[in-house]
């Protein structure tokens, strides 16, 4: 019995099944005793003679016992923790009880000739399923003994013979012994063959069941890992700058792979050095070197050619550039993979364990997947940042020589290279001025270019516009007073937030306010109003007492490089892009702008910005 216990104990799966099956057995007994009682009495009324009274008593006893069984089952089930052994014993008790009851029924229905004899097969099946193979054979033996005893008792008249069910024929007499023996032997072989079949079948089912559990467990683990990988990729996707992304990668890799440390090294532009860009779990000392010379590290060289590298036990010194450091760190095994996208390799992703031979083929496959996804995320972000990189680089390339020229002009004008004649001074000052304007055109172009490039791709968030307006006004306030222009603010309290981006709002306010001050002669006035309008929008109004805009020029006011004639005459400074920036900012904010102007008296711009719900722009 002991091996039987072990086998069942091992698997929670089978234990649960045992508990349920035992309960099922009890329920079955209700049905059987009920049906048998009913069948018996029906048969009795149909005048089929058989000893109805003993049978009735028997089935009533069975039913009563079943109540007891149910109580016991409930008791055993409620125990914490459940003892498998108890259920097994209980199963034995029930099966034994049933067999005894069945043999009584068999006796009363004709002994060895009873048609109900075959019902013992049910118990073989039950024993085979619920109990160990050995138990099953033991019950088979018990059945054969009982059957033999039954024959013997009836043959030798130790028990009164009973009429055979459905046949109304008395039990055959002693001279039929060979026939009885033949019958018995046939019966015995049937029982034994069934026992053998059922135990063999069950054994193979159990094996399959066990391997299914193993596979299921592996699948669960795999699932967990893949879910973790998915979360890691999502986190990387949300990063908006490279370092954050790489840090997130190393942190998650260390956690998911369950290792001591992790690092990402990226190839420098010269493709000759690898630089530690992010590490987790490694000491300062190890990463302080910062740079690995590829010439000196065959391992990294091989990885950068595309192969992966696992080492079960760090031994050979000549693989690494800094072998001592690796040992000191406590690293016993490591796995390194190239970071590559479309055949282009740009870095190395390593994980380190303090346990030798930690990484198996499954780990290699999984980490491979992780490295590829990480590489894609890094490359994607780089490309996204690259889109704006070109514009920014272009602006820088334009600004640098411009700044150098302006500094050199200043040098001359301030007399550092000798005296400057008046006429020369005038000309050089004009140069300075033109260059200044050129600088502003470059800045505006960059701003406009970037805004157009990222439009629709940046996520808006709730922005409080009041502080932004305040700071813009402060910044321009000084200039305004220098120019003799008075600035007046009316800002309501508790202006609601709008869905926007701080830079966008800043550009909007800056350009309009700067224009107002620029085109208002000394002694004039600029009025700035910020208010909440109705339930769903805010109003930003800026009015000046400046030169105004001719009606005929208003339609073209918001087009690129357009400057009204009177504006050009009043001030040469102006890129013609400021209002384009304003208009496009309002478009993105889903707002609108109106302009009213009287030449010579002043202009008033009114902007409406809706108080939106999240999701104004897609990401």
């Amino acid at each position: 019995m002991e091996p039987g216990y072990q086998l069942i104990k091992e698997q929670l799966f089978f234990r649960k099944e045992l508990v349920e099956r035992v309960h099922w057995l009890i329920n079955l007994r209700w049905a059987v005793s009920g049906v048998a009682l009913a069948a018996g009495w029906i048969a009795h009324f149909l005048d089929l003679s058989h000893p109805i009274l003993p049978l009735t008593v028997l089935f009533v006893v069975v039913a009563l016992s079943n109540i007891l069984f149910l109580a016991i089952w409930k008791r055993l089930k409620s125990r914490e923790p459940q003892e498998v052994k108890h259920f097994v014993v209980f199963a034995h008790v029930q099966i034994a009880f049933d067999l005894v009851a069945l043999f009584c029924v068999i006796y009363f229905t004709g002994g060895i000739y009873s048609p109900l004899l075959m019902f013992v097969l049910f118990h073989i099946i039950l024993a085979g399923i619920l109990l160990a193979p050995l138990s099953c054979f033991i019950y088979a033996a018990f059945i054969l003994l009982a059957a033999g005893a039954l024959i013997a008792f009836q043959e030798f008249a130790l028990l009164p013979p009973q009429p055979v069910l459905f046949q109304n024929v008395p039990f055959p007499s002693a001279d039929r012994l060979p026939d009885v023996l033949a019958l018995y032997l046939t019966f015995a072989s049937g029982i034994l063959i069934s026992t053998f079949l059922i135990t063999t079948l069950k054994a193979s089912l159990r094996v399959k069941g066990r391997s299914l559990i193993t596979v299921s467990r592996k699948l669960d683990q795999s699932n967990t890992k893949l879910t973790a990988l998915y979360e890691m990729v999502k986190e990387m996707g949300a990063c908006s700058e490279s370092q954050g992304l790489i840090d997130s990668a190393t942190r998650n890799a260390k956690r998911i792979m369950g290792v001591k440390g992790c690092s990402i090294k990226l190839l420098d532009d010269d493709r000759k050095t690898l630089r530690f860009c992010s590490t987790h779990g490694l000491s300062e000392n190890y990463t302080a070197k910062g740079i690995i010379d590829i010439e000196k590290s065959p391992v990294n060289r091989k990885i950068l050619q595309g192969s992966f590298f696992t080492i079960g036990k760090i031994q050979k010194d000549d693989y690494f550039q800094y072998p001592e450091d690796i040992r000191k760190e406590g690293i016993a095994s490591m796995m390194c993979l190239p970071l590559k996208v479309e055949k282009m390799i740009f870095g190395v992703f390593c994980i380190y364990s303090d346990i030798p031979h930690y990484f198996g083929p499954d780990d290699v496959n999984f980490f491979s997947l992780m490295a590829d996804l990480t590489a894609v995320a890094i490359e994607d972000l780089k490309r996204e940042l690259n889109k704006t990189w070109f514009l920014k680089k272009a602006a820088h390339q334009l600004r640098s020589p411009l700044n150098a020229i302006r500094s050199m002009l200043d040098l001359i004008l301030k007399g550092y290279q000798g005296d400057v004649a008046e006429k020369q001074k005038e000309t050089l000052t004009r140069c300075k001025k033109r260059l200044e304007i050129l600088g502003e055109v470059i800045n505006d172009l960059l701003k406009l270019g970037l805004e157009r490039m990222v439009a629709g791709e940046t996520a808006f968030h709730p922005v409080d516009v009041s502080p932004i307006l305040k700071s813009v006004c402060e910044l321009h306030g000084a200039r305004a007073s220098e120019m003799g222009v008075d600035m007046i603010f009316h800002m309501e309290d508790s202006i609601p937030e709008v869905m926007a981006d701080e830079k966008l709002v800043d550009d909007l306010f800056t350009n309009l306010i700067s224009n107002a001050i620029k085109y208002t002669p000394s002694g004039g006035k600029v009025t700035v109003v910020l208010a909440r309008e109705k339930e769903n929008r805010i109003r930003f109004e800026i009015a000046d007492t400046g030169i105004g805009i001719p009606k005929s020029e208003i339609p073209r006011l918001f087009s690129e490089f357009f400057r009204a004639e009177n504006a050009k005459a009043f001030s040469e400074e102006g890129t013609g892009l400021g209002l384009v920036i304003v208009k496009e900012a309002l478009d993105r904010l889903k707002g609108s702008i109106t302009v009213e102007s009287t030449p010579g008296e002043g202009t008033c711009f009114v902007c409406y910005i809706p108080i939106g719900k999240p999701g104004n722009e897609k990401r």
Binding site: E241, Q243, D247, D269, C277, H396, R399, S400, P401, L402, N403, A404, I405, R406, S407, M408, D410, L411, K414, Y416, Q417
Partner: protein, 137 residues
């Protein structure tokens, strides 16, 4: 007023370097120049200057900061004041620490940002202030 202090300019724009040199030499500062981070570092090793004027971007976006942090992390060089030249000094001062600190280390290395284009008077004043501070310490 010049003090004969030794100033090292590191910037890849030769015109700008020349302009600054003329301005500084007019006040009797002694001026050395380098046009990239590597040469700059070499010049510092040769002789420690009293002040470094450093451009933010040269051939790569972070060359200026790379050098600045390298100096900060080296004991004999960490106390050299650095005046950084940038087209957008305000943005640099805000954005700089986040972008670079975690990669390159602790300790913001820049003493002061100065705006381009250079105004000679402003530049001289800034340098004077820094050198005065340094001598006080």
């Amino acid at each position: 007023m010049g003090t004969g202090a030794d100033i090292l300019i590191i910037d890849d724009d030769k015109d700008l370097v020349n302009t600054i040199r003329i301005i500084l030499e007019s006040r009797d500062y002694s001026v050395r120049a380098a046009h990239n981070g590597k040469d700059g570092h070499g010049a510092i090793e040769e002789k420690i200057p009293d002040l470094i004027i450093l451009d933010v971007m040269m051939s790569t976006d972070t060359e200026g900061f790379d050098l600045a942090y390298k100096l900060k992390n080296s004991p004999q060089h960490r106390d050299i004041p650095i005046l950084m030249l940038s087209s957008f000094p305000q943005k640099m001062a805000e954005k700089g620490p986040e972008s670079f600190q975690h990669v390159l280390g602790e300790g913001w290395p820049v003493t002061e940002f100065h705006e381009k284009p250079i105004d000679p008077d402003d530049l001289l004043e800034a340098i004077e202030d820094i050198l005065r501070e340094e001598n006080r310490i």
